[in-house]
Symmetry: C2
Subunit: 301 residues, 2 copies
DNA sequence: CCTGTCAAAATGTCCTAGACAAACTGCACG
DNA sequence: CGTGCAGTTTGTCTAGGACATTTTGACAGG
C-alpha cells in the first residue's frame, strides 16, 4: 500500500545527503537501490530513506560511509559508542535524574517536562542549569537517537521546548550597557541553534551584551552586522552535521572581512575536529566559551 | 582586493538556488557569469551572489526569472509592488507606528525594540498584538528587504527578537487539558518559523493545546508524532520561499500517512498560490486559521 | 615500540550536455 | 469576453567523467 516513494530531491532534503552523493553511492557501493518511475527518475522507498538518514547521522559522528553501507542493519546500537569531544563528562551521579527528564520527553509529556525543567532551573541556578542539565541532556538525546531509543520527533519536541526555556531565561536577565558586545549567529547551512543559545545564556549571565541574529546569516551580512552593532566579538556555532571540510575556509573568509579588533569565536561539536585557525578562537565546549570570555576581559576590557 | 569568491555550493547555500538552476541559468540566460578557478570550477563574485539573492527573493514574490535576469539593477525598488495575498490589508492608520518599530530595528536598537513591542503587547492584548502588529510588521520587513531599505541581518535580528516575544507570551498562557490538540511544525526544507509561531499564539489563546515540534520534521515523523501525541490536527506552515510545485504532492503524501480523523492544516504565504487539495485545509492568512479552528470546534468538539 | 613518509584507496564535489515534464503565456476562436 | 490549445519558459533529472582531498596502510628509520 505504500505509494510513498521519494524522488531524489526529497531524499536530499530529508537526509541532508546531496544528490551528487546519492547518485555516487549508488554507482560505487550499489546502495541505495531506488526503483525508477515512469520518467526513469529514481524513486526511493521510505525504508531506504530511513536507513540513509541513520547513516548520515553516524557519519556526522565520525564513521566512514564505506563501512556503514557494508554493515547490515545492526549498526544501530552497535556503532553508537564513538564519543565526541563532548566536554568534561557528565557528573555521573546526576545520570538518573537526567534519564527521568528524557523519559518525560519520550512519554510525550511536554507540560510535565517543562515543569520539571523549570524546577531544576530554580534549584540549580541558570549557569549550572545550562552546564549540568541542558548540555548533557542534549547530548543524551543525540545518543538516544543514534541508538534508536529516541524518535526524531521526540528530539524535535525536546529541542523546541528547551530553546523556549533558555530564551525565557535570557529575557529575565537585566539589560543595560554591557561588555563585551557579542554577536551570535550561525553560517548558512547550519540550522542548529540550541548550542548557540546555551552559550548566549552563559555569556549574558556573565554580563555580556548579546545580539542574537538567529541562524544562517550570510557571511557578508555578518560583517555588516558586526559594524552596525559595534560588536566586540562575533560568535558562531557549528554542529556535528556541518560539512567539516568547509569550516576552516569559511572562518578565514569571515575573518578577512572583519575588522581586526573584532574577535571571532567558533564553538560547537563541529569545531572539535578541526585544527587551529589563524585569528579564530575555537571553543568546542561551553567551558572553553567561558574561558574565552574571561580572556577577553583580561586583555580588552 | 576581493579574494572573496564563492564556489557553486556556497552560492547554493547562500541564495537557495540549486546548483542545477545556477548552471542552467548560465547556459540559458548568460547570467550569472562566474570566473573559473584553477580547477575549472565556477567562482562567483560577491556582487553576483548579492544579485542572485535578490532575484531569488523577487521570484518568491511571484516574478519570473527570465524577466528579472533581463532587468538591469533598478529592479530593486521597481519590482517590489506585487502584493501577495498577505491578508486583509494593514489598518492604514497604524502605519506610522509600525514604521517607528521598524526604525528601531534599522537603528539596531534591539533593547528599545523589545521594550516598545512589549508595551504594545500590553496595550493591545495578545490577539490583536499578533494580528495587528506582528503580522504586518513581518510583511513590512519583507518588503523593506526587497527594496533594499532593510539589510538581511536586520531582518534576522527582527525575526529572532520577535520569535522570543511570541514564545514568551505563549509560555504565560494557562496550561491544562485542552482541545483540539494541534501539532505544529514545518516540512524539511522549510525553516521559517515566525508564521507558525503567530498561529500557535492565536491557537493557544483560543484554548487549543499546542505541540510545537519546531521546523523541518520529516514526513514520516509527523505521522508518528501525531499518533504519539494523540493530535486532532496537524498544522504546517509554508513560506513564500518553499518550492511551490512540491507543496501539493507533499501534502497528499502526508495526508495518506495520517489517520483520517486527524485534520491537516496548511498555512503561510506559500499556500496562497496553490489550488485546493483533497483532505487539506488551506489557510493563507491568520484569519483563515482562526476560522478553521472555529470550524473544527463546530463539527468535532 | 614509536614516528614519519608516501603511495594507494576512499570519498566528495564539480563539470558538461541532453531530455523531458510541468507551469505559464498568449492568441485564436466561439 | 471567456476558453482551450499550442508554444515558450523553467526546473529537475539523468549519465558518466575528472579530479582534489582525506584517510588508510605499509614500510623504513630512529
Amino acid at each position: 500500500m505504500s505509494t510513498l516513494t521519494y524522488n531524489i530531491a526529497a531524499v536530499e532534503r530529508d537526509t541532508g545527503l546531496s544528490k551528487d552523493v546519492l547518485r555516487m553511492w549508488e554507482r560505487r557501493y550499489g546502495f541505495p537501490t531506488p526503483e525508477r518511475d515512469g520518467n526513469g527518475d529514481r524513486a526511493y522507498s521510505a525504508d531506504q530513506v530511513e536507513r540513509l538518514r541513520l547513516i548520515k547521522r553516524l557519519m556526522d559522528m565520525g564513521h566512514r560511509p564505506g563501512k556503514l553501507i557494508a554493515t547490515p542493519y545492526e549498526e544501530l546500537a552497535a556503532l553508537a559508542p564513538r564519543r565526541m569531544a563532548a566536554g568534561p563528562a557528565v557528573p555521573e551521579e546526576h545520570t538518573p535524574e537526567l534519564d527521568e527528564l528524557i523519559d518525560l520527553v519520550r512519554r510525550h509529556e511536554g507540560g510535565a517536562y517543562l515543569q520539571a525543567m523549570q524546577q531544576r532551573l530554580a534549584r540549580q541556578g541558570l549557569q549550572r542549569f545550562v552546564q549540568d542539565t541542558v548540555a548533557p541532556l542534549a547530548q543524551r538525546i543525540g545518543e538516544g537517537w543514534e541508538q534508536g531509543r529516541v524518535e526524531v520527533f521526540e528530539e524535535h519536541l525536546f529541542t523546541e521546548l528547551t530553546k523556549r526555556l533558555l530564551r525565557q531565561s535570557i529575557a529575565t536577565l537585566p539589560a543595560g550597557v554591557r561588555r563585551p558586545r557579542i554577536l551570535l549567529t550561525t553560517l548558512p547551512g547550519e540550522q542548529h541553534l540550541l548550542g548557540l543559545l546555551m552559550a548566549e545564556t552563559l555569556f549574558a549571565l556573565e554580563g555580556a551584551e548579546c545580539i542574537p541574529l538567529g541562524t544562517q546569516t550570510p557571511l557578508l551580512e555578518i560583517g555588516r552586522a558586526a559594524v552596525a552593532h559595534r560588536a566586540d566579538v562575533v560568535a558562531l556555532s557549528f554542529s556535528a552535521a556541518f560539512p567539516l571540510r568547509q569550516i576552516p575556509a569559511l572562518l578565514l573568509q569571515l575573518r578577512m572581512g572583519l575588522d581586526a579588533s573584532i574577535e571571532l569565536w567558533a564553538g560547537g561539536t563541529g569545531v572539535a575536529r578541526i585544527g587551529e585557525t589563524e585569528g579564530v578562537v575555537l571553543m568546542p565546549t561551553l567551558d572553553d566559551a567561558l574561558a574565552a570570555l574571561a580572556a577577553w576581559r583580561a586583555t580588552d576590557a
